[in-house]
C-alpha cells in the first residue's frame, strides 16, 4: 500500500513538473501587467483597449515573433479606481513584471512616485502631459492631450476668417479633462492668435441649451472638447436642435465643434447620429474608415481572435494594440542585442527608440520616438472630420508648433 502511495505521488509530481516546464527548453516567459477600467467609468474605452493589448500579445506568442519566448501579460480590471490600480500594480511587482501598462490619468499621476521608486517603464492610456513632469519612467504612446488641443487650436487660427477667433474649451471635470487647459492658455499667451472665452467643465448634463446659448451670446465660434464621447454627443445634439452647428469649418454665426482623442471615433457617430456631421477630431491613430496597411492589419488581428466589428473598428482597440506593439518591440530589440530582459533593459530600449531606431507601428500616423528628453511617442497628429457618418482625414499629418514654444 505504501509503495502504491509513493508511486502516485511520483506520478503527480512528474505531471506537475512537465506542466510547469516551458514548451521548449530555454524558452523564457516575460511577465507584463496591465491595469485598466474594464468596468466602471470610461470602460467604453478601456474594454476595447484591453482587447487590443490581449490580442496583440497573443499574436506575438502565436506567430513566435520572439522565437520560443513568450509574453505573459496579466490584465486586471481596476474600475477606474486608483486604489485598485495601486493594489494591482503591487501584485504585478510581486509577480516579477518587467514592463507595466497603466490606464487612467488619475492613477498614473497617483502612482508616479511608485514607478520612480521601482524604476518600472510604464506606458499609460492617459496622454496627459503632466504625467511626464518629474517622471523618468512614464512614456506617453502618442501626442499628449495638450498637443492635441493645441493642434486643434492652431488649425482654428490658421483657417479662421475674420477677427480673432473666440474659442471655448469643454472639458471633463477631472485631471484628465483639465490636463490641456493650462497648456492651451500658455500657447495663447505665447502668441497663438485666439481668445479663450470660457473653460466649461461639464456634468452629467441632460441638456446643454443654456451653455450653448451663453457661448453663442459671447460670439464663440469654436468649441474644443477634452472629455469622452457621451457628453460631446449630448452637446452636439443640443447644438443641432438649436441650429448652432457649423455646416462648414468656421461658418460665421455658428459653432464648429472639435475634440481630442477620447471624444471621437465610431461611438461618437453612433451616439450623436447626424449631429456629429462636421465634427473635427484629432488623434495620432489611423482609423479604419481611412483604410491602409495599418488598419488592414488591425482588422485582421481582430478577426483572427474573434472580435466583433465594433471592437475591430474602435480607435481604442488600435490604441491597445499599439502600446502592446511598443512593449513587444522593446523586448524584441533587447533580445536581438543578446540582453537579458529586465525592466532596466527595457527602459534603456525605449530611450534608444529614436532616429534610425524609431519604431513604425503602422497603426499610427507617425513613428514612435522616445529619448531621454522626449517621452512622448508619436508626435504627429491627424485631423479627421465626420462626413456622411464617417471620420475622414482632413489634410496631412502635422506636429503642433506651439507645443515646442511653451516648453
Amino acid at each position: 500500500m505504501k509503495t502504491y502511495k509513493i508511486s502516485i505521488w511520483l506520478l503527480v509530481s512528474l505531471i506537475a513538473f512537465m506542466l510547469a516546464m516551458p514548451a521548449s527548453s530555454g524558452a523564457k516567459v516575460y511577465k507584463l501587467g496591465l491595469s485598466l477600467a474594464i468596468t466602471g467609468p470610461t470602460s467604453d474605452a478601456g474594454n476595447p483597449y484591453a482587447k487590443g493589448v490581449e490580442d496583440y500579445f497573443r499574436y506575438v506568442n502565436d506567430m513566435k515573433l520572439l522565437g520560443n519566448d513568450t509574453i505573459d501579460c496579466t490584465i486586471r480590471d481596476d474600475k477606474y479606481e486608483t486604489a485598485i490600480t495601486k493594489r494591482n500594480f503591487e501584485e504585478y511587482l510581486d509577480m516579477g513584471i518587467v514592463f507595466y501598462l497603466n490606464y487612467s490619468t488619475g492613477s498614473t499621476l497617483g502612482l508616479k512616485r511608485d514607478f520612480e521608486e521601482v524604476k518600472m517603464p510604464v506606458i499609460p492610456a492617459s496622454f496627459h502631459a503632466g504625467n511626464l513632469e518629474d517622471s523618468n519612467y512614464i512614456f506617453l504612446p502618442i501626442a499628449s492631450y495638450s498637443a492635441q488641443a493645441i493642434g486643434l487650436a492652431e488649425y482654428v487660427v490658421k483657417n479662421h476668417k475674420g477677427k480673432t477667433p473666440k474659442v471655448a474649451l469643454f472639458v471633463h471635470p477631472s485631471a484628465f479633462g483639465r490636463g490641456p487647459v493650462e497648456d492651451v492658455q500658455k500657447a495663447v499667451a505665447a502668441g497663438l492668435g485666439m481668445e479663450i472665452v470660457e473653460v466649461v467643465e461639464h456634468g452629467k448634463d441632460l441638456d446643454n441649451t443654456a451653455m450653448l446659448q451663453r457661448l453663442k451670446s459671447k460670439d464663440v465660434q469654436y468649441v474644443i472638447s477634452q472629455t469622452v464621447q457621451s457628453p460631446v454627443a449630448v452637446m452636439l445634439k443640443d447644438a443641432s436642435r438649436l441650429g448652432l452647428v457649423a455646416k462648414t469649418f468656421g461658418e460665421k454665426g455658428k459653432i464648429t465643434f472639435m475634440g481630442c482623442h477620447y471624444t471621437g471615433g465610431n461611438d461618437l457617430v453612433a451616439l450623436a447620429g447626424d449631429a456629429a456631421e462636421n465634427y473635427y477630431w484629432t488623434t495620432s491613430y489611423i482609423i479604419t474608415s481611412e483604410p491602409g496597411v495599418g488598419t488592414d492589419a488591425q482588422l485582421a488581428l481582430a478577426k483572427r481572435y474573434g472580435r466583433d466589428d465594433k471592437f475591430a473598428n474602435s480607435h481604442n482597440y488600435a490604441n491597445g494594440v499599439m502600446v502592446a506593439q511598443v512593449a513587444a518591440e522593446a523586448i524584441k530589440r533587447a533580445k536581438t542585442r543578446g540582453k537579458e530582459i529586465t525592466k532596466e533593459v527595457l527602459y534603456e530600449e525605449l530611450l534608444a527608440m529614436n532616429g534610425m531606431n524609431a519604431f513604425y507601428p503602422v497603426t499610427t500616423v507617425g513613428p514612435v520616438t522616445f529619448s531621454k528628453d522626449d517621452h512622448q511617442g508619436v508626435d504627429t497628429l491627424q485631423l479627421y472630420a465626420v462626413e456622411n457618418g464617417q471620420f475622414k482625414s482632413v489634410g496631412m499629418p502635422f506636429i503642433p508648433e506651439y507645443t515646442g514654444k511653451i516648453k
Binding site: 470602460s43 470660457e198 446659448q213 453612433a270 465594433k310
Partner: protein, 297 residues
C-alpha cells in the same frame, strides 16, 4: 427674450426628466420608508431592455418601451420578493444596506453584458427637426420625455388617491401594524411599490437613453443625480418630486445661462441646486411637500 424662454423650456424639460427619474424613489419610500439606492441600476436596466427589444428583437420602438416597463415591473417585483420581503419588520437601515448590495449585484450582472462597457444608441424614431416657435425650440425626444412624465405622474397620483390598492399602500406607509390589523397585505403592498417603481424607472431609462445615448455609467448615475430632487420634494410626495424636479431643472438652466462664465463664476449649474437644497432643508426639514410626522410620546 427668447433666450429667457428657451432657458425656461429647457429647465422644464430637464426638470420633468428628473421628476420621472425620482418617481421610483418616491414610490418605494411612500409605501415602505425605504430608500432604494439601486434605483439608478434599475433605470439602466429598463433602458437596456428597451434597447434590446427594439434593436435585437426588432420590436417596434413604442411597443418595446411599453414592454420594457412591463418587464421591469415584474423584475422589480421579483427583486423585492427574493431579497427584501424577508426583511419586513427589520430595521430600515438593514433594508437600505440590502439595496446597496443589490446595486453591486445588478452592476455585476450588467457588466457581464455588452451594455456594461459599450455605448449604444436608440435608432431615431421621432422627427429629427425640433419644434421651434418664436425662437424657442424643443426636440421631439424632449417633448416625449415631458409628456411621459406628466402622464405617469397623473396616473400614479390617481392611483394613490382613488384606487383601493393605492390607499392600502399609503396606509402601510403610515403604519404597517395597523394596516395588517385591518387586512391589508403588507408584503403585497411592498411588492407593488417596487414593481411600480420599476415601471417608472424603465420609462425614465428609455427617455434618458434617447437623449444621452445608452451608457451604463451615465444612466445609473441618475439614481444619485436626482437625489436632491427627491429630498427637496419631500421623499414621499409625488407632487413634490415634480415641483422639485422642475425647480432644479430651472435653477440649473438659469445658473448656466446667466451666472456661469460671468463674474468669474463657473460650475454654478452643478452647485446651486445643492446650496438651495441645504437652505430649504434648514427652513423645511421635511422638504417642500414631505409628510411632517408628529410622534406623541
Amino acid at each position: 427674450m427668447s433666450y429667457f424662454f428657451q432657458l425656461v423650456v429647457s429647465g422644464i424639460v430637464v426638470g420633468s426628466i428628473y421628476a420621472l427619474s425620482a418617481l421610483g424613489f418616491v414610490l418605494i419610500y411612500k409605501s415602505s420608508r425605504v430608500l432604494n439606492l439601486a434605483h439608478g441600476q434599475i433605470i439602466a436596466t429598463g433602458a437596456f431592455i428597451s434597447y434590446g427589444l427594439t434593436v435585437w428583437a426588432n420590436v417596434p420602438i413604442y411597443i418595446s418601451f411599453l414592454l420594457s416597463m412591463i418587464i421591469t415591473f415584474f423584475l422589480a417585483m421579483s427583486v423585492e420578493k427574493i431579497f427584501l420581503r424577508r426583511l419586513i419588520g427589520e430595521p430600515i437601515i438593514s433594508v437600505i444596506m440590502v439595496t446597496i448590495g443589490l446595486m453591486s449585484i445588478i452592476d455585476g450582472l450588467i457588466y457581464l453584458t455588452p451594455f456594461g462597457s459599450e455605448n449604444f444608441s436608440f435608432p431615431p424614431f421621432l422627427p429629427q427637426q425640433p419644434i421651434t416657435y418664436a425662437g424657442v425650440s424643443i426636440s421631439y425626444t424632449q417633448l416625449m420625455g415631458v409628456i411621459i412624465t406628466f402622464v405617469l405622474i397623473g396616473v400614479f397620483s390617481w392611483f394613490f388617491k382613488k384606487s383601493t390598492v393605492g390607499i392600502s399602500m399609503r396606509a402601510v406607509s403610515d403604519d404597517q401594524l395597523a394596516s395588517m390589523s385591518i387586512g391589508v397585505s403588507v408584503p403585497r403592498v411592498f411588492g407593488l411599490a417596487w414593481a411600480t417603481a420599476g415601471l417608472s424607472a424603465a420609462a425614465a431609462g428609455s427617455v434618458i437613453g434617447n437623449i444621452t445615448g445608452l451608457n451604463f455609467d451615465t444612466l445609473h448615475a441618475f439614481g444619485i443625480i436626482v437625489f436632491p430632487v427627491v429630498i427637496l420634494g419631500g421623499l414621499d410626495s409625488l407632487l413634490g418630486a415634480v415641483v422639485a424636479g422642475i425647480i432644479m431643472g430651472l435653477i440649473q438652466q438659469f445658473a448656466s445661462g446667466y451666472l456661469d462664465g460671468n463674474w468669474g463664476l463657473y460650475g454654478t449649474a452643478q452647485v446651486l441646486p445643492y446650496i438651495l437644497l441645504l437652505v430649504l432643508l434648514l427652513l423645511k426639514p421635511h422638504g417642500l411637500f414631505g409628510t411632517h410626522e408628529i410622534e406623541r410620546v
